[in-house]
Assembly symmetry: C2
DNA sequence: TATATGTGCAATCAATCGATTGCACAATGA
DNA sequence: TCATTGTGCAATCGATTGATTGCACATATA
């Protein structure tokens, strides 16, 4: 079963769950009340987010408060970062990869 | 058919394709040679990346050179940004974070 | 012209996904 | 104790995904 952060945040419901829990740690029932799906469906989404490290648990009695582990999103941010430099036009600090890209693009024009 | 950037980059092969084409615009055959799957499979990945705006086309004769449109990844970076502030411990703009999350939640309701 | 090459599209298939229902079990409270 | 509540887990189902094969068509090349 593939459980990486990229796949986890691909689902819009899971992104909403992350956004919700980021504001305030919540229980599965609390989260489910904010969505139009069953508690079990939310529970499965939470399970996926747990398995890839995007959420943490804080049990209180029979309730389980889930919290967001935002640091885990750095994996995505790190992958995007070189491309950010491309679209922001900050070419002064580019590594060889991006320099190669620029040269090849100019060279491939007729 | 859902065609958003988050779903597009969820597949590791597609992320590899983006990384490859970012170095140098490539044809489908060129890309396929770098992977262990068929040309048609690569072609379908490219189609998905095209449909969500992550790639552009530059036809040269019967060859089609695909280029990366990095700006499209800003959609993902923008979603991550409030969380980046969380994991980097910059809480001075917490109100902005909360507001951003609120807006995102409202805007993504089905 | 005829042949080879580069590419896209349709059909197909196994695997996975997102959701539901039903049940089990521990913690709470009468 | 016994009923209620909060939660997790298993079975199931329809839709989607990622891959393959086969074919069509335009472009290049002999």
């Amino acid at each position: 079963m593939r459980r990486d952060v990229f796949q986890a945040i691909a689902d819009p419901t899971r992104r909403d769950i992350i956004g919700l829990i980021a504001k305030k740690p919540m229980t599965p029932n609390g989260v489910a009340e904010s969505f139009g799906v069953s508690r079990q469906a939310i529970s499965k989404h939470i399970q996926i987010l747990l398995e890839c490290g995007l959420l943490g648990i804080n049990p209180q009695g029979r309730e389980r408060y889930y919290t967001v582990q935002p640091k885990k999103l750095a994996e995505v941010a790190d992958w995007i970062d070189p491309f950010r430099k491309m679209w922001e036009g900050r070419f002064e600090k580019l590594d060889d990869i991006i320099n190669t890209l620029k040269n090849e693009q100019n060279g491939s024009e007729k």
